[in-house]
Symmetry: D2
Subunit: 369 residues, 4 copies
């Protein structure tokens, strides 16, 4: 099981390597009747494109999506939607040297150990380009969620030591700054910091956050299919993510119960919570408040300086990895986090439709009392 | 999908509520030929029992396991192993009052929203007693892993502000102190801190850690079924866990690439790493070094003081939750984390057996060259 | 994967061997709010009990079911329903001899080959008693279907050469004759034939049929999850079934298109079909007419005469299998077929709820136009 | 869940409609190290092409496959293999008329009922062209099975009343006659019969059979994942199949136990069976003899004569379906049956690798005694 499928009802299967002919995704279980065109998807893919600023790789990736099936007369038919992005600007020549050794911090060694050999061109299947399929599918999930009154939105929380100030949250900045930070001042500082880091032939990590607004209570399941458990898997499955927090996350381990409990109250005749330390999930099930997930991303492992490693003949060697690399991964990963969250939430909502007998009865036997 | 199954090949299905007749688990896909008796499982269940010290709930839970199927003449047969633990000392009377309102920090409200009503006795399915099935199944997984040369071991890293000193790791202390800390000095401090917390009618959170030693490289899959992604789901699915870290976890977001990369080297003729910031996983696949996972656990939501909440009639009320509660969840959750890790790792190993064509050929057609 | 789970949303996991301590099933994903008590299930289990006539085994199986979880105040809670049946009258002594050899027509040899050894007592997991879990779970599915206006009903179509006359279908006879035939005359003939067969120390096969009435159109999926494909798997998974037919089944292979096509027509303002050769399924999806499935069951392999086989030492031997056996399996398998059909249909209905975007919108965002 | 995935470890996901841009399949879980090129797959696709004789549709389908991912330097990498076939000769104009009504025997009505509308061009997703993905994936599975010493081979057993004489089985004839019958005399007769049928503006059904040779004993699981249950699902999921038989199939329902049991014997020091009524499967697990499956296929529903049906406005109408249709489906479905069988068997073999503890120990801890 190479493990390239995600979801139970709204199920996606991604495929493709960084330097193969193409990458893509098959979305199975998309409800029929959604208006969908290439542009809906292209807008999301554009957000993960590099080359739009100094702080991302100068590689040009002209990722243009084609819908091959599942849409007829502008609407989804309920059958699988196959999405294709051709690889156009990948040059395999850049990577031939790394075939002989294992780059520190990359999956070269573990792929070789698992499969006996690997596609060494640009990381192959473990390249960041693998996320193209996730983003293309996530764009479709997000479009459906919007029709259900739900928005999913991710942004950069910090880059190295530079934190975004959440007091002045500026959503527009997320989509229009190179750092995807919701704070233009922090964006400037982060850019300066990244320039410095590049000068020092280094890279840096960062933190990203995703919020879901409008999700009704009752979504997610007890025990193993908790909404937070599935979100944790979804986000941890994104390359370079090393930690996932829900709500106040790690902070809870030093906190008192009296501080951490969210009191219930009534507001506008509705049950609400006075605070949201829980991040919108109690016992694995959404409570109607904003879902909040945070992910910590490691620094780009490819850096422009000499590193120690071993080659395939079992010799210790020093290497200088060539190529063009992002000094930080986070700004381009933000849309991936957003898409994985949308996919997880939508699938949980579809599964939830049969949780109550009376829902089944209304659906199939509405005349019955 | 109530979501009570976990795993693909080694698949478990748990069931039971805190105040029902019994709780249990069905293990499907356990290999045939394992020597197994009730005591193998009972030892693990005893580690999650309360009532063994001042700092856990004084509730007595005499959880005694019965093997109902899948074992013949002392060995597993390959067919489902059904394990049963009868509820004996649960008194429903203690809980009748909470039927009418939603306890802050608990799943009462979300269950009602999802299902239309709930088993309000002691949390029902969202009670900590739900983990009995996980632990019983994990004991079986751990026994198999041992035969494969792999040990899984979890412990308390911190309770509130009290950190275990990892320099003087004492494995024996984990199994024999009330806090499950690997450091007897910290254990003493934590007990004092917990006594204080109880006095103050409060509770506190903590952090637990699990390590896996002896796991070969090559386990886990790229993309969605990454080993770390499945571990994140497994651990986040344990009630009260709000954050999961792999290796250096959250710390990577403030780190440089030059600090965070683990250099490969040769030691005893084998590929090893100079450091293990990655926590034993690269690109979702084990790299042969120690796997390290950390989880942050929120404070017990039930505390002995007045809290604000709402009742089922939509009125704001003040409540004092009765019952007997642990001032901290971590020491009893440690064995649950260990078991979820064992289940995840074993399943990934079973799935991995067909990753290479030559493994299939050796298995089924050994004569072929 | 021992393969003891069935279904995607309404998912059951069965366990237990013929001579273990108990057998049972866990039902996960049952909607909350269904009134359920032991008697609902017991009625179905009673239909598969032996010992109620001359033509079934004289073994007494007093199968009494206990609900261990998932029901609170008389209604399902949405959490797993664990059902238990203790083995009470199984005597292992009867079976010890067969440990050393492989009974023709049984799974003894294949279990040994797969697992390295087997529970030889009465067939172990491959015993007909394995179906207890299927029937207990199917009783719950059938109760839900009833509330959706759907009935599932199975009966014996033929025993050896004796065919039921479907012109005079008598549903009452199915539940009240030893053969479960819907025709009292055929029932008499079949009993006589079975007596004769027993006298001749032989056994005989038969055919059973299941119909589903009231199923709306649109249930089932194209391609691999066709409703008929899942029914075929469900029914073929019942021990001793060797063929499954949908609608006119095998007969279609000698038929002309002009004879086999079902013309659509309008009746009472509804789309109906003039005939139902298709058995209610077109392209894997229900068409609103009666679903009709037929299964062919092999003769009981245990017969009271000398047979040739081999023992575990690889020697050819002659054996006389002792024990008490049914001369025909069909009458007791009818309720199993009915239950597997109910489980398959209900799961398909639950999955179908999100097939259209407008269903999702009505469910979650009813105010939206 | 549109249900376009098949398999657990060796998992395929197909996509595409008859008149969309393309059709294809993603194979996930293919072992690394298999030599694979487009021609391996093209050979199988060519077997399902129409237009090679008088008795298939004169439509030209120039189905040329492209490997988009998962193969590097001529070998599979263990990551998903994406296969693409562009639709080139489909003319949507031919089909526009059928948009307004429901063709008898087709899935038009049920798709509309399920999804609210449908891609009416040539059947859309329910077209026979959907099988392109199955065949492309099956070619890969068959190539792996060959390396394990296993052959899967399907052929036409009968067309209408014309039966192949199995006494003179001619494998070459299957691949080189228009009927795919293993008997050249029957082939001639069937062609004459089909010409006659076409003249009479009618179509006819038929029967196909698939055998698996070389499969070791022990493959398949007890209970729900029986090898025969999964084969039944796999084959019944092929459009137009209405019945599946294993071994002697339907015939067993009129047979005595003494006739139907296969006696075990020793031959060349190996356990064998004197007969193979069971079709190579006992208790859901392979017994080492030849697996034999039979499928009954309905007549092509599209025929060149006036039929009664209803239109989308709910009026009864008479229609003459235009287009180019096969007078019989079987000869082109034979390779689909072969491929579905190969996929099922290979997946079962991969799952089986962890059935015994000693297999796990040999694989992961070979030094252990």
């Amino acid at each position: 099981m190479a493990g390239s499928s995600f979801g139970t009802i709204f199920k996606i299967t991604t495929w493709g390597e960084s330097h193969g002919k193409a990458l893509g995704v098959v979305i199975d279980g998309c409800p029929a009747g959604l208006e969908l065109c290439e542009d809906d998807i292209q807008q999301y893919l554009n957000r993960r494109k590099p080359g739009t600023s100094n702080i991302t790789t100068p590689r040009k990736e002209d990722d243009s999506v084609e819908i091959l099936s599942g849409v007829f007369e502008g609407r989804t038919t309920g059958t699988p939607i196959s999405l294709l992005v051709r690889n156009t600007s990948q040059k395999s020549g850049d990577y031939s040297e790394i075939a002989s050794y294992y780059r520190p911090g990359h999956a070269d060694y573990t792929f070789d150990q698992k499969y006996g050999f690997r596609d060494y061109r640009g990381g192959g299947r473990s390249s960041g380009r693998e996320t193209i399929g996730r983003v293309a599918a996530g764009a479709v999930a997000a479009k459906i969620l919007k029709q259900l009154g739900i928005t999913v939105f991710a942004y950069t929380r910090s880059i190295g030591p530079v934190q975004a100030d959440m007091e002045h949250f500026d959503r527009d900045a997320v989509l229009n700054t190179p750092t995807a930070m919701p704070d233009r001042t922090a964006n400037e500082k982060a850019i300066a910091y990244l320039e410095e880091t590049k000068q020092a032939t280094d890279s840096v990590g960062g933190c990203m956050e995703c919020i879901v607004k409008g999700l009704p209570s009752g979504i997610g399941d007890p025990v193993f299919e908790k909404l937070d458990a599935n979100l944790a898997k979804a986000i941890m499955s994104v390359g370079a993510v090393k930690a996932v927090e829900i709500g106040d996350g790690c902070a809870v381990s030093e906190r008192k119960g009296s501080e951490n409990n969210d009191a219930f109250l009534i507001s506008d005749g509705q049950v609400k919570k006075a605070t949201n330390h829980a991040g919108g999930i109690l016992g694995g099930i959404s409570d109607g408040s904003t879902i909040c997930i945070r992910a910590h991303v490691k620094p780009t492992p490819s850096i422009y300086r000499t590193q120690s490693t071993v080659n395939k003949s079992g010799e210790e060697i020093s290497v200088n990895i060539k190529g063009r690399h992002d000094p930080v991964i986070v700004p381009r990963a933000v849309v991936v986090m957003e898409c994985m969250t949308a996919l997880t939430v939508l699938d949980a909502m579809m599964i939830n439709m049969s949780a109550r007998l009376d829902s089944l009865v209304s659906f199939y036997n509405p005349g019955k009392k």
